[in-house]
């Protein structure tokens, strides 16, 4: 039985539907992420799990028990709030002891468990400081420690790293993964940062306009998005309008208007005549002045360089195809001393394996 099961939950505010028929389940010990653009209903869903909002319809089951009507203070679910929400009049240790006190844990046990969790988040020497005497990253760790100390069945994290700068965020991501492994508590993690979601999660539910657009492991979400929205939202992706012109032999032929024919893996449900999108990651495209045919890169197009962006480890080349479509590609700068292989307006050739692109109908 799944630890958490959300069944067909709907939540509306007035005539606005914030969460629309969401169903999903989370296994015990999982690091599960809700990913989606701003306003797609992530926080609303989380608040329903915590008990601050009630679903209009549908059920939320925790350990098989329907939690409808159970107030937040009675749910074995703790939240790490985006704003940290540390109690400013309490020291770090007092903040962390708070949930234990509420649960009427004995004074001696409180001391032991606070010390233990302070050690887990490496804040032992800050125990007697007040929140305003801490850095952003330290505050974040206090908030996580406070939510973890009473060992909730489920830990909810609402964009916990969004207030930190990029470098600190990366460090905290690694800490979070380790912490989650160590304590073995199930995490439901909310973010609108796709990189963070891919790096941290066991599974990701991509949300759009209150609905789950795709739910899968990060690798699948990245390589086989099920819709134009998911492909576009996760990472960099080329989106080429395409029409199915033939299916045979485990391959699908796609007409890319004004450019030519591309091949791709067949997709269930696609038939000849269907219009859709060929999604193609920049790093899966080969780029060269001339590319020999038949080295396994079955799809072959010509174009000219439109823009170059030097990023340090890689250089991005935007290539303009014959019909004016812009395709993003990249070349790593690792092996050679050169950082630039082409200049604007150079004639180049593009090629990719037939299974590198992924066709989506929607």
């Amino acid at each position: 039985m799944a630890l958490l099961e959300i069944r067909d939950v709907v939540k509306t505010f007035g005539d606005f539907t914030a969460v629309n028929h969401v169903s999903l389940s989370v296994e015990a010990g999982e690091f599960f992420t809700l990913l989606g653009p701003s306003g797609c209903g992530k926080t609303t869903l989380l608040r329903m799990l915590a008990g601050f909002e009630q679903p209009d319809s549908g059920q939320i089951l925790l350990d098989g028990q329907n939690v409808a009507g159970v107030p937040p203070e009675k749910r074995p679910v703790h939240t790490v709030f985006q704003s940290y929400a540390l109690f400013p009049h309490m020291t770090v240790a007092q903040n962390i002891a708070f949930p234990l006190k509420m649960a009427k844990v004995s004074q001696a046990d409180i001391k032991a468990r606070v010390d233990e969790v302070l050690d887990d988040v490496r804040l032992t020497q800050f125990a007697t400081r007040f929140p305003h005497e801490l850095s952003g990253g330290q505050r974040q760790r206090v908030a996580i420690a406070r939510a973890l100390v009473n060992r909730p069945r489920l830990l909810l994290l609402d964009e916990p790293l969004s207030a930190l700068d990029a470098k600190l965020r990366e460090d905290m991501q690694i800490e979070l993964i380790n912490l989650q492994k160590e304590v073995g508590i199930t995490f439901v993690y909310v973010t609108h940062d796709q990189g963070e979601a891919l790096a941290l999660s066991h599974r990701i539910a991509v949300m759009n306009k209150g609905e789950v657009a795709q739910l899968d492991v990060p690798e699948t979400i990245y390589s086989y998005p099920n819709s134009r929205f998911v492909a576009d939202f996760i990472g960099q992706c080329n989106l080429l309008d395409a029409t199915v012109v033939g299916i045979d032999d485990g391959k699908m032929k796609l007409e890319i208007e004004g450019v030519g024919i591309a091949e791709a893996l067949p997709v269930p449900g696609a038939k000849v005549g269907d219009k859709g999108t060929l999604t193609l990651r920049p790093e899966k495209i080969r780029l060269g002045a001339t590319l020999p045919a038949g080295d396994g890169h079955e799809v072959h197009f010509k174009g000219k360089v439109h823009d170059c962006l030097f990023l340090g480890d890689v250089t991005i080349y935007i290539v303009e195809l014959d019909n004016g479509t812009l395709v993003e590609t990249m070349l790593p700068n690792a092996a050679s001393g050169r950082a630039r292989f082409f200049d604007d307006n150079d004639q180049v050739e593009l090629a990719w394996r037939f299974d590198a692109g992924h066709f989506v109908l929607a």
Partner: protein, 308 residues
């Protein structure tokens, strides 16, 4: 650099001058007066005089002989007659009770205003300070009419009491009347700082507390109340100190039994014209308030960094 310092003096100069002229110097005069002898016809025993015959100003005392013009007699009197100490105690009791009642009434009110929709808050605050639009004395006189034996309020209370066999009570000119009117007069001074504090509270903290297992009472007692203490202290000071020195209210609604230390001080200066003793009373009152404030600060500081 120099301009900066000049600007500082120019900005702080006028208020400093004002405080010097109308607070520091008068306080010093009063402190000095507390050690002098009362004059034969009130005021202070003069230190110098204009000789009517010669028209020259003469010193009436031997400046080297302090005992001629300085005395501890006024202080001795204060400490020897228990009636003054009792009046002090009573005034502190009245002011303390007023503060506690104001707090009990103002806290829920301030909380409700702070939690009401933003667009209504200003209007609600305006209603709290509305009484200030009429004169203070008029408001106290209104209470005299309400509480007076001919008023409907007193009549209906006595009618009810009559039914259960308790004789008619006098509402006006009683301890009850003093406390009631003191509370009425000072209530806004408690509401405003409390509201200013409560309005700033971060609602996320209450959500966090609830999420971590705190019920409604625990959320109030562990989060809202401790965070509102600065407002509570500010309100308490704004109510307690003026209430302690109040003389108009006990004068008008307190009768003979209801007087407070403020009435005695006023009496010394205006009726008995014993300025030295009036000064002693004022100084003792100020010292008592300062000691109380110091004590409160110490207690507040001590409680802050306690263990888990």
């Amino acid at each position: 650099m120099r301009n900066n310092r000049l600007a500082k003096w120019l900005i702080s100069g006028p208020p400093l001058l004002y405080l010097l002229l109308f607070f520091a110097i008068p306080s010093a005069i009063m402190a000095f007066a507390a050690f002098r002898f009362p004059g034969d016809y009130g005021g202070l025993l003069p230190l110098m005089n204009v000789n009517p015959d010669t028209g020259k100003t003469e010193l009436l005392i031997n400046a080297g002989n302090y005992a001629d013009f300085l005395t501890l007699e006024n202080f001795t009197r204060f400490f020897q007659e228990p009636v003054f100490f009792e009046l002090f105690l009573k005034s502190f009791w009245y002011a303390g009770l007023t503060t506690v009642i104001c707090l009990a009434l103002a806290y829920p009110l301030a909380w409700l205003i702070a939690r009401s929709p933003k667009k209504h808050r200003d209007l609600l605050v305006l209603m709290v300070i509305l009484p200030f639009w009429s004169n203070f004395l008029i408001r106290v006189y209104s209470w005299m009419i309400i509480l007076g034996p001919q008023g409907y309020f007193a009549k209906s209370i006595n009618a009810v009491l009559g039914v259960i066999g308790i004789g008619p009570v006098q509402l006006l000119f009683s301890h009850f009347a003093v406390i009631l009117v003191l509370v009425y007069v000072h209530l806004p001074f408690m509401v405003l700082p409390l509201y200013a504090n409560l309005e700033k509270h971060d609602m996320n903290l209450l959500d966090a507390a609830q999420d971590l297992g705190a019920n409604a009472w625990q959320r109030f007692w562990r989060i809202t109340w401790p965070l509102s203490l600065p407002g509570v202290w500010a309100g308490a000071a704004l109510v307690f100190i003026p209430a302690l020195g109040m003389f108009a209210v006990p004068d008008l609604v307190g009768g003979t039994d209801g007087i407070m230390i403020g009435n005695l001080i006023k009496q010394q200066f205006l009726d008995s014209r014993d300025w030295p003793f009036g000064s002693v009373l004022s100084i003792m009152l100020t010292l008592a308030v300062l000691m109380l404030a110091g004590l409160a600060t110490l207690i507040g500081r001590g409680g802050k960094r306690n263990a888990l």
